[in-house]
Symmetry: C2
Subunit: 244 residues, 2 copies
Amino acid sequence: MSDAQAPIKRRASVKETKDGKEGDERHDAIYRAVSDAIVEQRLKPGARLREDALADVFGISRTGIRKILQRLSLEQLVTLTPRRGASVTRPTAYEAKDVFDARQLVECGLMPDVARRMGEKEAAELREMAKRERQALRSGQQSVAIRFSADFHVRLAQLSGNATLAEFVERLCSRSSLILAVYGHRGHLGCESHDHDDLIGYLEAGNGERAKAFMSRHLKAIEASLSMVEEEENVPDLQQIFGE
Amino acid sequence: MSDAQAPIKRRASVKETKDGKEGDERHDAIYRAVSDAIVEQRLKPGARLREDALADVFGISRTGIRKILQRLSLEQLVTLTPRRGASVTRPTAYEAKDVFDARQLVECGLMPDVARRMGEKEAAELREMAKRERQALRSGQQSVAIRFSADFHVRLAQLSGNATLAEFVERLCSRSSLILAVYGHRGHLGCESHDHDDLIGYLEAGNGERAKAFMSRHLKAIEASLSMVEEEENVPDLQQIFGE
DNA sequence: GTTGGAATTACTGTATACAATAAATAGCTG
DNA sequence: CAGCTATTTATTGTATACAGTAATTCCAAC
């Protein structure tokens, strides 16, 4: 593919490139691939994301990669340092607090709306998601479980009917996964799995206020499970370590 | 018009752009210029934003313009249609409702925090902003007034101390300006100007709950002032007009 | 005069070349 | 051999060339 300058302008070559996917979908797929890898902690906070490397892996040019990195940066999953390139964001303790406070405000505030719009179909879907999450957790796939858990919260927000707030919750959940990756205890997923089932119960019963209170406790529990110690600097402070 | 094949490559121009600013700042300035123009309705919803044209105006290449357009698109101020390019977003009535519901939830929810952190300095700054807004309105600069009003709401959210929620409010306010541009009545700015001063009073008094209730009414008033009629299609529906 | 279709044009999508800068390394010099 | 500077290398930033596609115009035919 290095000598791609075949002079033939016929449509055959065009068809070939469009073989499976529209260029747009391809970009979206790559975006999701990177995003998932970050959320699932296969790419750890601080990991550098070199443009060339990504371009090689996904078989597109740096142009497309840069677009994707920019998007991830605006979503705060990736940090773009001028002339240093991209790396997976390492959330600070302050950011973590902000994110969880925001989730308190928004996700709890949405519960009454969700309860109002909750039907059998929706409840069944949520139960299915909760089940997947439990299974992943049981089989030791913690990273996947974290993502399923985030998916659950996002779907819940979508059921409120407010697309803008749902999208915001999506961002918050992605960032929460990062936060869990950094500050969470090994083997302790933020969400207790049965919590989600309980929540579905309240929502199905149309008890928005109870669901709201439960969600509040639920989020507080997740936040409390974090150990908020700033991780060691990459470059250790020699002064501090060896005294003066 | 675009004699793009002018053989003269003004490398000097590169130096020129770095003269006073880092390339980054330049980009940011252009971003703000476009964003402001949209928010102030100098660029009206539906207006096409051609890459070449913008590149010419700002003296950078399409590469940089595309980056900026993508950012604006992620903030939903600009709509990016594949192979059709960029245009100023024309919010739908549904989006308008979502945005104002989101503002109800978030901005009202922040008032207690804001009241708690409100000091003399902050109050003075807010009063200054409210004053600027009133003056702009009085001198007939409605577009500028809309932006000042948005600035006020954003600054308020920032005072809550939660950067994540403040940024979200910023987005919501930008979109609100667009919504006002489309659905607002001429000569009727959403916010009553004295409203903002009243609000500062409650906050300064530390009365978060009262501020919250006031903000709620304030936002409801803005929303109520909109005339939620979808604008006529460019291509009229002949079937509907002439019956069957 | 309208319609259908071909040629032209205008614009976006993508890759790539080259410039600029930060990091790493090597080569001096005391 | 430590510490500093020069050179090389790795990597990002920006412009531009070219390809592909939608829109437009023009022309012929009915």
